[in-house]
Every structure is written in C-alpha cells, then in structure tokens.
C-alpha cells in the first residue's frame, strides 16, 4: 500500500511516562484514503500512538509527520507549539468519551472549529455545520444540547465536529467503547460510510473486529509497545502469525 502518498508518517516513535516506556519504537505510514485499524490489549500503547500523532502526548523521541507538517518529539518550544496547532488542524480526533462541549448545541459544537480555529464567517460555518451533521444523520438534532442526545448520537456529533475541519486524517480513539451495545452499530455505520463513501484516511483504535474485517485496509496488532504483527484483515484473521495475536483474537471474537 505504501505508494508515497503517505498522509501520516510515524518514525522511531518512543513514548515514556516517567520510567514506564509505553511505546518502544513505532514506525508506521498511513496512505491517503487508507483505513488502518490498531488493536491490542489495553496498555499495549495503541491509544498513546494515536495521541502522539496529534501531540496530545508529546513523543519522547521520534518523528511525526502529518500532511507535510513534520515534527520531532521532545521538548516543546514556542515555534513548535505553533506547528503543533497547524498539524492538529489536519487531524480530526474522536474520543472514547465523546468530549462534546456541553454548553453548545450540536450545531455549535460542529461549527466551533471552523469559526474559532479557521476564522470562517458564521453563515458559512452554519452551512458547513448542517451539511456535516447531515453526513452523520443528525441534521434534525442541530439545535439540541449534547445532554439531550443518546451516547450514539453524541459520538456521531463528535465525528461531525472533527469532520467539519476537513482533516486529512481522522483519528478514532476507541470510539465505541463507552457506548451501550445497542448504540454501537449507528456509530460504526457512520464510520463505515466515512471510509467507503468519503474515502477518508482513518486510524482507528478499536476492539470491533467485525468493523475491522469489513472496512480496514490494514490492521496493526500492538503488543507491549511495539507493532507485533501487521497486515490485511485477511492476513490477520486467517494467517495469524504470532500466538499473542491469536490469543487476543480468540478472546475478543
């Protein structure tokens, strides 16, 4: 798949929290339009990788490149902070806990990025907002506050909020883990349509193996801070190489 159109490039990524090394040298490239599912046991570093990509965590060591913005890990300087902000506008992030702004309506949540960060005018953003909410099937909930939406609806608004910035890559950090089982489907189907209809580049940390099998172009199994096994869903599911991967798949399937 690596044909030089990489949107995200991760090189030699290390991340430590104090003396605990969570990521022990990760190299990964994600091409335009590619959907990569990252899976593995909790504590294996998969969320940390995602959070390092948009610098919610500062990499201890290594290089991150998103849409041509290339940044080294380590100490934050003033100049770097500005570059981080620029890099983040290329990444849309969807959190496990949704993290919608509770004091704003669904539409205001979606408009917030374009208005505040991109500085576009309100009317234009309103149109973007409604259009984006329609993409996640929630145009009729535009004026609702998050608290009045179900978990699944909140997560779809959160996806719309990220999408409205027109990011080059969408980062999903266990987007369905906080949801009741009956609400997971609606979120996964929105994510599927992002991949298949809008051809979004996506990095998805999830335990939803059905989604992975159906939508992922590539899967990466994280184990103790490294990528132990990587391949197409077919390779991962049918020709599993490592016993750790096999054990994990047996446990979640």
């Amino acid at each position: 798949m690596q044909n030089g159109q990489a949107i995200v490039r991760v090189e030699g990524l290390h991340k430590s929290f104090g003396s605990l090394e969570v990521l022990k040298g990760i190299d990964m490239e994600v091409d335009k339009g590619e959907v990569v599912v990252i899976f593995g046991r909790s504590g294996s570093g998969k969320s940390t990788l995602l959070r390092c990509v948009n610098f919610l965590e500062d990499p201890t060591e290594g290089t991150i490149e998103v849409s041509g913005v290339r940044l080294e890990g380590g100490h934050r300087t003033r100049q770097k902070r500005e570059q981080i902000r620029q890099l983040r506008t290329h990444c849309g992030m969807v959190f496990q806990q949704f993290n919608l702004f509770p004091h704003m309506t669904a539409l205001q949540n979606v408009m917030e990025g374009p208005v505040t960060v991109k500085g576009l005018d309100e009317g234009q953003c309103r149109a973007i907002g409604i259009e984006t909410l329609a993409k996640v099937g929630l145009a009729d909930k535009a004026d609702e506050y998050p608290i009045r939406l179900s978990g699944g609806q909140q997560q779809r608004v959160a996806i719309a909020r990220a999408l409205a910035m027109e990011p080059d890559v969408m980062l999903f950090d266990e987007p369905t883990s906080a949801l009741d089982p009956e609400l997971i489907g609606e979120v996964l189907s929105v994510m599927t349509s992002l991949a298949t209809d809008l051809h979004k580049t996506m990095m998805v940390v999830t335990h939803e193996m059905g989604f992975a099998r159906e939508v992922a172009d590539r899967m990466a199994f994280f184990h103790e801070g490294v990528i132990l096994e990587e391949g197409t869903p077919d390779e991962i599911f049918r020709k599993t190489q490592f016993p750790e991967t096999k054990r994990f798949l047996d446990a979640v399937l």
Binding site: N54, L56, R85, Q86, R88, T89, C91, G92, M93, F95, Q97, F98, N99, L100, F101, P102, H103, M104, T105, E112, G113, T116, V117, D143, E144, Y145, P146, I147, R148, L149, S150, G151, Q154, A158, R161, A162, M165, A178, L179
Partner: protein, 347 residues
C-alpha cells in the same frame, strides 16, 4: 406530648422558636430602656450609609472577580512569572488580616509614595503621591477587592479544574490556541460553577465593608457602620445605633441571600435536570458518566426529560424559572452544586 405536636408542621414549630427568641430580645431591650423613638428619628441617617456599603461591595466584587480570574490562570500556569506573582498575591492577602491591609493601603501607601517622590524627583511626576492618597472608601474598594480576590482565586482555580480534562483535549485536538480554548470552552463552563460561591463572597463582603469605619471617613462618603457609630456616640445611644446597624446589615444580607439561593439553584441545574413529575409521557435517559463531559458526577442518578426545552447553559443567569418550579418535588433536600468548590467558610 410528642403525639399531640406531631401534627404541627415543622415550619410552624421553627417559626414559633424564632418568635420566642425575638420576644426574649424585645424584653431585654425593653428592660434596658430601649429608645424606639430615637431609632425612628435616626434610622434614616444611618440607612443612607447603605448606599456606600453596597457601592463599595459592588466595586469590590468586580475587582475581586477580575483578580481571581487572573490569579487562577496564574496558579494553573506553567509560566514561572505568572505562577510566582499569583502565588505571592494569594499568600500575602490570605496570610494577613484584612484590617492590617486596610491600614497599610490607607496610611503606608501615601507615605511611601511621598518618599519615592523625594528620592526620585526627576522620574516621578509631582502629583504621584496624591495619586496614592486615597479616601477611606476608595481604599475599602481596593483592599476588599484584593483580599477577596485572593480567596476567590482558589474558587476560580477549582472551578477551572472542575472542567474535565477531556474538554481541554477536545479543544486542543481542534487546533485551538490556549486563549481560544479558555475563552470558548473552559471558562464558560467554569463560570457556571463559580457563580454561586461568588454570590456568597459578595454577601460576605457587604458585611466586611463595616471594617472600613475604622479608617474614619469624610461625612459624605460614610458607610453604614460609621454613621451608626458617630450618631450613636453623639447622642449617647450606642445600643440603639448598633442594633439599628445590625438590623440593616441583616436585612441587606437576607435579601441578597434570597436572590443568591435562587441563582444557585438555577445555575447548578444547568446541565442535569430531574424529570418533571407532572408529565405523563417521559422518555428517561439515565445519564452515565460518559455523558459528553458533564463536569460532575452525572451518574448521580438524575434523569433528564428528553421532551424538555433545551437550555442555554452558557448564559448561566438566563434560565426558565417555570422549568425549575416544576422539578422541585423530585429534588434532594439541598441542591447539589456541580463541582462544588472549596472556598472560605464564612462565619
């Protein structure tokens, strides 16, 4: 005995207790030959001090809120200058008595300013010292603002910290700058939490304005207590004057406490609301901790009525009274303040 009184509502019993206390006090004052006539004649003079009392408190709280906001941002900052300055500020103003601060600003500042002018006559304008020679009520506003601002820094800090980390991350992930994140995401949510305790501080400050009387004031800018003291001493009616002053303070705080408790109820119900019992059809959605960053224990068993009108929580004061009236019966005894923040306990 217990059986016979069981039918009497609790409120009525409490009212009876109050009535007895007032009767006792009335008897005491009567036996001390309390001069009602004097009070009737002079209450007007004393009450005119209310204007300055309220004025000082209002300007004081405005200064305090601004300082508390800056102080809190400083305390949460990683910038050593901001952190250090705000640390010094809160430490000093919380660590020294209010009355000492009043005298410091009233007496020491003009003196220091004069000496500075003597030392550096070429650098400082001639009216430099005049600028620091302030009326007692001006000193009162400044010192009360500084002092309360220091205490309220802690309230604001806690208020800002009560906004979940996820909110901050969501703002970061969108690419917001620190300033944008604070202005658009964190502070609007924090203000909701700090409004009730700020009301408390305002009420406390109204009483502390009485301390300014020790500085001595010119006749046209005297606050309530100073007026009571002067006229009480002049007519040798200290008891009557002081009781009048106390009564006026009490009435003032009672009025503001009433508004404060209403405000507190409304603001604290910003996000999480109980189901109105009158509704026949309800769609209950029991909130889980996952509810999009509801800042406090949203899992506390509240349910929300999905058919209610949404509420603009950003405009904390702007809520619909009717909605809250309707939900009263299901509330716990004390309205729970989300992210209740530690402040100074006032006596």
């Amino acid at each position: 005995m217990a059986l016979r009184s069981a039918g009497v509502p609790f409120r009525v019993k409490v009212a009876a207790v109050w009535a007895v206390i007032f009767a006792l006090l009335g008897f005491l004052f009567w036996s001390a030959s309390f001069d009602n006539q004097w009070i009737r004649e002079n209450i007007g003079f004393i009450a005119r001090g209310l204007l300055f009392t309220i004025l000082i408190a209002v300007f004081g709280i405005v200064i305090a809120v601004i300082l508390a906001l800056l102080g809190a941002l400083g305390r949460l900052s990683r910038n050593p200058v901001a952190y250090g300055v705000s640390g010094f500020y809160t430490s000093f103003f919380r660590g020294t008595p209010l009355i000492v601060q009043l005298f410091l600003f009233y007496l020491a500042m003009p003196r220091t300013a004069l000496n500075l002018v003597d030392k550096f006559p070429n650098f400082l304008p001639q009216n430099f010292a005049q600028f620091f020679t302030l009326e007692a009520f001006q000193v009162g506003i400044i010192v009360l603002g500084l002092n309360y601002g220091a205490y309220m820094t802690e309230i604001f800090r806690a208020g800002i910290q009560s906004v979940s980390h996820g909110q901050s991350e969501a703002a970061d992930a969108l690419g917001m700058s620190y300033r944008q994140k604070m202005r658009r995401v964190v502070l609007p949510q924090a203000f909701r939490v700090v409004i009730p305790p700020t009301g408390n501080e305002f009420i406390a400050m109204m009483k502390d304005t009485a301390l300014i009387s020790v500085l001595g004031q010119s006749i046209e800018s005297m606050e309530l207590f100073r007026r009571a003291q002067l006229i009480g001493n002049a007519d040798v009616k200290p008891l009557e004057a002081l009781v009048t002053a106390a009564g006026l303070y009490w009435a003032l705080t009672a009025i503001f406490t009433f508004f404060q408790s209403r405000l507190e109820r409304r603001v604290s119900k910003g996000y999480v609301r109980a189901v109105a019992p009158t509704r026949t059809e309800r769609r209950k959605v029991v909130l889980t901790g996952a509810a999009g960053g509801a800042p406090h224990g949203a899992a506390s068993g509240y349910a929300l009525d999905a058919s209610d009108a949404p509420e603009d929580v950003a405009a904390a004061g702007h809520t619909h009274a009717g909605t809250f009236e309707a939900i009263e019966p299901l509330e716990p005894d004390e309205p729970e303040i989300p992210g209740h923040v530690p402040g100074r306990e006032h006596q």
